[in-house]
Amino acid sequence: MRNTYIPYPVRIKETQVETEDKMLKSFWLEFLNADDAKAFDYTPGQFAELSVSGYGEIPIGIASSPTEGEDLLFTVNKVGHVTNRLHNMRAGDVMGVRGPLGNSYPLEEMKGKNIVIVAGGFAVTTLRSTMNWLLHPDHRGDYGDIDFVYGARTPGMLLYTDEWSQWQKRDDVKVHITVDQEFPGWDGLVGFGVDIVKQIKPQPDNAVALICGPPIMIRFTWPVFEELGWTTEQVILSLENRMKCGIGICGRCNVGGEYVCKDGPVFTKAELDKLPAEY
C-alpha cells in the first residue's frame, strides 16, 4: 500500500512575487520523479499539502491546470510559520507536495451550462486552474457562455495579470476585472465584484456559478444571485479551514460531519446551508 502521508519530492522551478504588498508569491514546482508526476492526477478545485521539511505542511489550492503540463503552480500568502519559510525559498530548492486532495469543481456536471465565475482577492487560485481548463481547446466546446469576474483591492493586488489579459482578448469568454476604487493608470472596471455581478445580471437558466473569495464577499454576492432567481444548488463555493492530515482523519477541518479536506473543499450553497458555519 502507498503511504499517503509521504510527500512527493519536488523542486522549485520558478518563483514570482505576485502582488505589490509582496505577501503573495507563486511557485512553479516540478516533480523529481516522473512516476510521481503521473500519480498526481488532479482536477481544478483540488488542493495539495505543500511540505517544507523542518517546518511543516500547508494546504494550498492548486492554481495550475492539468492542461498546462506536469508542473504545478501554487500561490501562497505569507501568513505563518511554513509560508514565511516558503517565501524565502528559491528556484532549485527541494520541497514536497502531497495530494491531490479533496474533491474538485464539478466540471462534468457543468458541461453544457453557462458558467459565471466570481473571484475575490487571492481566492482566485483554483479558479485560474478552472479557467485554464475551461478555455482549453479540448474543453471549451463542452461549456456554454463564460463570465469571469475578478476583483481585488488595487490593481497591484491582482494576480495572474498576464493570463487574464490574454483571456480578455478572446471572444469566447467575458472577462470582468475590477478594483475597489479608482487608481491612476487603471482603465478597467471599478467597484466590488458584487457590483459587477449586479451590472452583468447573470441569468440562472441552465447556469452554474463558482464563487470563491473572502466570507464577506460571499455574504454580499449571494443575495444578488438570489434576486436574479438563482437557487442555492446552482451556487458552488470553495471553503478553507485549518488542516493537518488532508485526508479526513485528524479532526479539525470538519463543518458538521463534512471534512473540508476530503468531502470538500467544494460544496454547493445548498449543502452548506444545512451545516454549521464553522469555517
Partner: protein
C-alpha cells in the same frame, strides 16, 4: 470452532506460545494504576480490574509517533526529502483487552481506513500485526454504559479471542481464525462451563443496563442544525474547562496534530494526539477561528461522536460506553446526561 478451556495455572504455557514471534502486552498494576505494559509472566495478569485508566489506543495510534524522517542538509543528495518510517517489526498480542476498547478500534478502522487515499499507513500496519485477546467484563462499573451504544460486557466485535473468567479457569472463544493454532490444543469446554459463562454474561449485562445509559434513537432523524442549535450547549460549556482529559482517555478520540522536529542534520515529522477542546486546534493563520468559543468546542466533541460519525459511518456510534470520561472529568460532565439531553 467450539469454545475451549484454559486453566489459569496453565497460563504461562499459553503465554509462552502467544509470545512466539510476538510482543505481548496486558493491563497490569503499574505503581498503583491499571496500565498497559509489556507482560513478563502470567502472575502479572489482573483478573479483578474494571479497566485500564487509559485506553490501549496507544498501541495503534501512539501519543507521539514518528511518521517520516529526512536529512536536514540541502546539499545532500537525499536532503530535505521525506522518507517513511519502517513498518512495525514484531507483531503484537494484546491480552485482557476489555470488549469496549476492542469495539472502539473497529469504529476507528472505519475512519482510518476509508479508501485508497484515506488509508492510514501507520494505523493499518499496527492493526494488521496485532492479535487482540479480550477479557469479558463480569463486574462492570457504575459508569459503564456499553449496552446502550451497541457494545456489551461480553461483546466480541473487534476481538480475535474472547476470554471469560470462570474463576480458576478461562472459557476461550475464538472470534477470528487468527489465533486458531494457539487454541488448537486446548481442551474443549464442558456444557457446565458454557452455562456458567452465559450466566455471567447475563448478570453483567443486567448490571450495565441497571446503570444510567444513553438514548440515541432520536438523533439519526434530527437535522444537524437542530442539534447544533439546541439550548443545552452553553450550559454544558459553562462548566467545561476545555482541559481535554476526556479526549485523551477516550478510546475513540483520534484527532491529531502533525509537527516537524529538527536536531542538527536530522529531521522528522511526528504526529501527536491533539484535541478538539483546544483553541489552537482550529485557528486559521489569519487569526480567524471557526470554533472560537468554548461552546463551539464542547459541542463539537459530542456532535462528532453521536451525530457526525453515525451519519457518515452507517449508524456506527463514535462512543463505546467505557465510561472513562465520566470517571475522569474534573468538573463531572457526564456524557450520558449530555447525550440524553440531545436525544430528548
Amino acid at each position: 470452532m467450539a469454545e475451549k478451556i484454559l486453566a489459569k495455572d496453565q497460563l504461562d504455557q499459553f503465554l509462552g506460545k502467544l509470545a512466539e514471534g510476538r510482543e505481548v502486552f496486558a493491563p497490569q498494576d503499574v505503581e498503583g494504576k491499571v496500565a498497559w505494559a509489556p507482560l513478563e509472566a502470567a502472575a502479572d495478569l489482573l483478573w479483578d480490574f474494571s479497566n485500564s485508566d487509559m485506553s490501549p489506543k496507544d498501541y495503534f495510534f501512539p501519543q507521539t509517533e514518528c511518521m517520516m524522517r529526512f536529512v536536514n542538509k540541502a546539499d545532500d543528495e537525499m536532503g530535505m526529502i521525506m522518507q517513511a518510517e519502517p513498518e512495525l517489526n514484531t507483531p503484537r498480542a494484546l491480552i485482557n483487552m476489555r470488549p469496549c476498547d476492542a469495539k472502539a478500534f473497529q469504529v476507528l478502522d472505519l475512519i482510518f481506513m476509508q479508501d485508497e487515499m484515506t488509508d492510514d499507513f501507520y494505523w493499518r500496519d499496527k492493526r494488521e500485526k496485532s492479535l487482540l485477546v479480550g477479557l469479558a467484563c463480569n463486574d462492570p462499573c457504575p459508569t459503564c454504559f456499553c449496552t446502550s451504544v451497541g457494545c456489551g460486557p461480553h461483546h466480541e466485535t473487534g476481538l480475535d479471542v474472547l476470554l471469560v473468567d470462570l474463576g480458576d479457569k478461562l472459557l476461550v472463544k475464538a472470534v477470528s481464525d487468527k489465533a486458531a493454532e494457539l487454541l488448537a490444543e486446548l481442551p474443549e469446554a464442558e456444557q457446565a462451563d458454557l452455562d456458567q459463562a452465559a450466566e455471567l454474561k447475563k448478570a453483567a449485562e443486567d448490571m450495565v443496563e441497571a446503570n444510567v445509559g444513553v438514548a440515541t434513537d432520536q438523533l439519526e432523524g434530527r437535522e444537524v442544525m437542530e442539534l447544533y442549535e439546541a439550548a443545552l450547549w452553553p450550559r454544558v460549556a459553562e462548566s467545561c474547562l476545555n482541559c481535554g482529559t476526556c479526549t485523551y482517555c477516550c478510546p475513540t478520540c483520534h484527532c491529531f496534530d502533525i509537527q516537524d522536529e529538527v536536531q542538527g542534520d536530522e529531521g522528522r515529522r511526528v504526529r501527536n494526539w491533539d484535541n478538539c477542546m483546544s483553541w489552537l486546534f482550529t485557528v486559521h493563520g489569519t487569526g480567524h477561528n471557526p470554533r472560537g468559543s468554548k461552546t463551539h468546542r464542547v459541542r463539537q466533541r459530542f456532535m462528532h461522536k453521536f451525530k457526525y460519525i453515525p451519519d457518515k459511518r452507517g449508524g456506527e456510534i463514535g462512543c463505546v460506553g467505557c465510561g472513562r470520561c465520566v470517571q475522569l472529568c474534573p468538573v463531572n460532565i457526564d456524557v450520558r446526561s449530555v447525550v440524553n439531553d440531545m436525544n430528548a
